[in-house]
């Protein structure tokens, strides 16, 4: 049976790869520092594959056939598709057996994901994957989630989906160690008049909700209220899915969630957050204190 050895969720703003130097140095350093902590902790646990959930950006699917979720079950995945992203286009290895197990396990648990043997992986995956596996050697199972084109899954739906995802991964007998990553969000506004706005209040509230293991106050939020925090903010569905997969209901060991970073980087038009879900007592480098802990960057509220 496979263990989900660790999970984390992070923003995937294209500018973090396309033009990282545009951000203030200290903010970029804190964000990338947190991402590197997550990558180092993951490396210490020697995962054999990574399952990554990210939002659809009309890179694969269009409104002639738009699944709520699609699981990439191919032998390989090509990406990034964006020439301007600052990451070389590569062929990323897949993990078809695990992909099929996830697909089948989700359907057994009454979810209805789509499938693709030929997914391309855009900035939503590659900004994060490239940081995790710069040589593109870690097998990737991409899962694309519709986060912007209504009707949309509620956060409660995503949580329940995540619980089933965690169960499906853990039921797989072909691997022993799997890493889970959520990519996207938190707040951002794109392709509309408010482009560039960031909802700092939402982002900090959301990160606190993540540390509190996604209470009803978060999961019961209506989709139209969530939209007030930004038309790209719905990508937190990936974070909530990952949190559900790491919850006790998904059959895993006790875990602890830590908000490692939050930087409202206007130059990247994105609130940039990182949250880590680690198995209590797991090996690897020490985890830095939460940004909300006494002495932390946001111990007393927004900076």
């Amino acid at each position: 049976m496979a263990d989900i050895v660790m999970a984390y969720s992070t923003a995937h703003a294209p500018m973090m790869s396309a033009n990282p130097a545009s951000a203030p140095d200290d903010m970029a350093a804190r964000f990338f520092g947190a991402l590197d902590v997550a990558s180092a902790k993951a490396a210490a646990l020697d995962p054999q594959a990574v399952v990554m959930v990210s939002g659809e950006h009309f890179s694969n699917f269009f409104i002639d056939n738009l699944p709520q979720v699609s699981v990439g079950v191919g032998e390989t995945h090509l990406g990034p598709v964006e020439k301007w992203l600052g990451i070389d286009r590569v062929i990323v290895p897949g993990s078809p057996d695990l992909g099929q197990a996830i697909l089948g396990g989700l359907i057994e648990r009454q979810h209805m994901p789509g499938l693709s043997f030929k997914l391309t992986v855009d900035h939503g995956f590659m900004t994060v994957y490239n940081r995790l596996s710069p040589q593109s050697t870690l097998p990737l199972i991409p899962m694309i989630m519709n986060c912007t084109f209504p009707p949309l899954m509620t956060l409660r739906h995503c949580w329940n989906f995540g619980v089933s995802l965690g169960q499906a991964i853990r039921a797989f007998t072909g691997l022993e160690r799997v890493l889970l990553v959520g990519a996207g969000g938190p707040s951002h506004f794109v392709g509309e008049p408010r482009v560039g706005d960031i909802d700092i209040d939402f982002d900090l509230w959301f990160l606190r909700m993540m540390e509190a293991d996604c209470p009803d106050e978060l999961l019961d939020i209506p989709n139209d209220e969530l939209m007030l925090a930004g038309n790209g903010t719905g990508e937190i569905r990936a974070w909530v899915t990952v949190a559900g997969a790491m919850s006790p209901a998904a059959g895993g060991p006790p875990t602890k969630t830590t908000a490692l970073a939050y930087e409202p980087i206007y130059e990247w038009i994105n609130g940039m957050g990182v949250a880590l879900h680690e198995v209590v007592g797991s090996a690897g480098p020490a985890t830095p204190a939460s940004i909300f802990a006494p002495g932390g960057q946001y111990a007393a509220g927004p900076a």
């Binding site: 392709g191 509230w205 209220e225 206007y266």
Partner: protein, 99 residues
């Protein structure tokens, strides 16, 4: 009328831009073969990002098009109708606001 043709033209344009062996002008969207209204055709041909938005193009498609053209936030925020952003910053209460 459906906005499908207008949005499909942008989606297909973005796919053409991804081709490694083609240098397609990023700001020239092909309109032949799509079912378009006159307003949609004009907005695509210019291209007029503000009009594309008002005509119902999904913001993620607009964002991808602007990115592909190398336009930064400041470059394309001004392409939307003046005052619209302020009117969208609503006073509606959200649960994460404490004041």
């Amino acid at each position: 009328m459906s906005t499908y043709g207008m949005q499909r033209a942008i989606f297909d344009h973005l796919r053409r831009l991804e081709a490694p062996d083609q240098e397609v002008p990023a700001d020239q969207i092909r309109t032949e073969g799509y079912e378009l209204t006159e307003a949609e055709l004009a907005a695509l041909s210019k291209p007029d990002v503000g009009q594309l938005y008002l005509l119902g193009t999904h913001p993620v498609l607009i964002n991808a098009f602007c990115r592909a053209n190398g336009w930064k936030k400041a470059d394309y925020a001004v392409l939307f109708p003046e005052g619209l952003a302020d009117s969208m910053r609503s006073e509606r209460k959200a649960r994460w606001l404490t004041s």
